[in-house]
């Protein structure tokens, strides 16, 4: 399941719902991305996330589908927030449930790596020196590349 929303989410509740009623699940792996209060040497007071409604959902669904084709998963979840967020707030949540831990760990890692380079979100940081758009990082592209298949 995927969700794009402005409001916060409760990771405990989400994890509970993800595996509820399916006793074939042996493990759930999850990742939460949060707003840091620094970027390099600068203090960050807040950030604003913009996205492309319509394309975002389509890309997240494609990422989730890809994970389900690669690993034997019982359930997956991607929640991504948009709007204004302050340091300490949750931005993104991904989780993968499977009979065995390897698939859950790998799929969770894959979901967040792919999302970072494919889902159309853009962060603008409110830094001490002014507002600035976050630039895409080469290391994120590298992280995605290791999941590429021939």
């Amino acid at each position: 399941m995927i969700r794009v929303q402005e409001h916060d989410f409760d990771p405990g509740v989400e994890l509970e719902l993800l595996s509820k009623g399916n006793n074939a699940i042996g493990g759930v792996c999850s990742f939460i991305g949060m707003v840091r209060d620094f970027a390099g040497d600068e203090q960050i007071s807040a950030m604003t996330l913009e996205h492309y409604p319509g394309m975002t959902e389509k890309q997240l669904e494609a990422i989730e589908k890809e994970a389900n084709e690669r690993w034997p998963l019982d359930a997956t979840l991607i929640i991504h927030r948009y709007g204004r967020l302050e340091p300490g707030e949750r931005i993104v949540f991904v989780a993968a449930a499977s009979a065995h831990r390897e698939a859950a760990f790998e799929a969770c890692h894959f979901l967040i790596d792919w999302l970072k380079t494919k889902a159309p979100f853009w962060k603008k940081e409110n830094a001490s020196s002014g507002d600035q758009w976050v630039e895409a990082k080469t290391c994120d592209d590298e992280a995605t590349k290791r999941w590429e298949q021939d």
């Binding site: 913009e50 492309y52 394309m55 890309q59 991504h80 993104v92 494919k118 853009w122 630039e135 895409a136």
Partner: protein
Amino acid sequence: MKVLYFAWLKEKTGTSQEELDLPEGVSDVEGLMHWLRDRDNGFASAFSKDALIRVAVNHEYVEQDHVLANGDEVAFFPPVTGG
């Protein structure tokens, strides 16, 4: 067709979305980008470096040689930074 701009492309062009007829002589994404660049200073600044711009047509990523049709939804944006 519908053309959308996000992040700093939206700020530099002063436009979030607009309806356009495929301009005469323009057949692909690259042609449209060159046509937009010649509009005014804001568009010229936004489209000054092709390498910094990602393009989606009908919600799918495309390359700059992608052929356009009237009725397409075309979006221009910087490399994504979510997660």
